[in-house]
Amino acid sequence: MMESKEKEYITSVGEGIYSINTGDWRINEPVLDQEKCKKCGLCFLYCPVFCIEKKDDYYEINYDYCKGCGICARECKSGAIKMVEKGSSSYAKN
């Protein structure tokens, strides 16, 4: 269950972090169009998995754990996020 990259987390009990690969769950996945993005950060606030990352001056989707719920796409007021079928976009890994 525990992948090597989770070992870096410090925990006061246990040996590491329990984590499952929720990125596997997606049927559709979000794609963020940086041109349309107004950098408002709403997607960052509302993603339940916290997989929208704030970089210096833009936001980026981390697909490792994204469950494909579609909240980010619905809440984005600028239409910058679209849900597409998993694997159909060059942005999305997996």
Partner: protein, 301 residues
């Protein structure tokens, strides 16, 4: 510090991959709350969706990056009261926080919560209210809204969903004279963060935070609608945002509240309701809201 900066600068203290459903309101509330609460926190999570999703860990691995206990369904508040007493005895200032579902709060865990509030232990008790025992298959709880179709309140020729109104937990906790009581909603993040900060500043007595936590799987709406459902709960006065401290209430007023049907129609658990049922829920919502208006007096903004 602006609330967004608080959220952006703080580390996510939850495991990156927990098995809460797609679009789960409770997962968003958990991650956001812990970002605000920070590392100096000991958490207890009783059985429920978040415990089942792996937040309490598995085998030798932890589900949070800070200490977390899985308590019993009925003893979360008394367990944490003991933990807090120990830290006080050791003279260590540690935040002791419960993150519990509505079943472990309003039903099974109520007597221990009531006792801890009455004795005034300095803990923060957060209830994520998804209106039922969702983790075990959507059974009704005390906080399930009247008319909800759940697995134990089915819809048929004899009954039409739950027969009773929702148990009003935040008001019950205010009537305990808890040090601080507030209702929080994930669609209103600024308010959400400021109420958590307020609870953190309370150094005497219990803080009770009641969080509206839409559940796509149990309420039956598409997962992308979670925030919209939470938002409609406030805009229709179904879930008013208010605070209680020092014997006084403070209410956030919604300009031009929408009819409660705008909230109900988003979830399929209400789809069988007819006009009369909806009118009855509307009357209940209005009565509760007017009561709050009276209690808040001049403290309405």
């Amino acid at each position: 510090m602006k609330y967004r900066d608080i959220l952006m600068e703080q580390e996510d203290l939850v495991s990156p991959g927990i098995s809460a459903c797609q679009g789960c309101g409770a997962e968003l509330c958990l991650r956001t709350a812990l970002r605000v609460l920070g590392k100096n926190t000991v958490v207890a999570i009783p059985p429920g969706c978040l415990a089942g999703a792996g937040v309490v860990g598995w085998n030798y691995d932890n589900g949070l990056k800070i200490p977390v206990h899985i308590t019993l369904l009925d003893n979360t508040a008394s367990f944490l009261a003991g933990v807090k007493e120990l830290y006080d005895y050791l003279d260590e200032d540690v935040q002791v926080v419960a993150i519990a579902g509505d079943g472990a709060t309003a039903d099974c865990g109520f007597q221990s919560l009531s006792g801890a509030a009455e004795r005034g232990h300095n803990i923060i008790y957060i209830c994520y209210d998804n209106e039922g025992y969702m983790n075990t298959g959507f059974q009704r709880s005390g906080t399930t809204t009247k008319g909800s179709h759940t697995s134990t309140t089915p819809v048929g020729s004899l009954i039409k969903g739950k027969a009773q109104h929702k148990k009003d937990m935040p008001m019950i906790m205010a009537m305990h004279n808890a040090a601080y009581v507030a209702t929080l909603n994930p669609a209103y993040m600024k308010d959400f963060v400021s109420k958590l900060k307020k609870a953190m500043s309370v150094k005497e007595g219990l803080s009770y935070l009641h969080v509206c936590s839409p559940c796509p799987t149990g309420w039956r709406f598409n997962s992308d609608l979670s925030i919209e459902v939470a938002r409609k709960a406030v805009k229709t006065n179904f879930f008013p945002l208010y605070e209680y401290e020092n014997n006084s209430f403070k209410l956030k007023k919604v300009a031009n509240p929408e009819p409660v049907s705008n909230f109900l129609k988003l979830s399929k658990k209400f789809k069988h309701l007819d006009e009369k049922d909806i009118e009855e829920i509307q009357a209940h919502v209005d009565e509760k809201y007017n009561n709050l208006v009276n209690l808040a007096g001049e403290n309405i903004n």
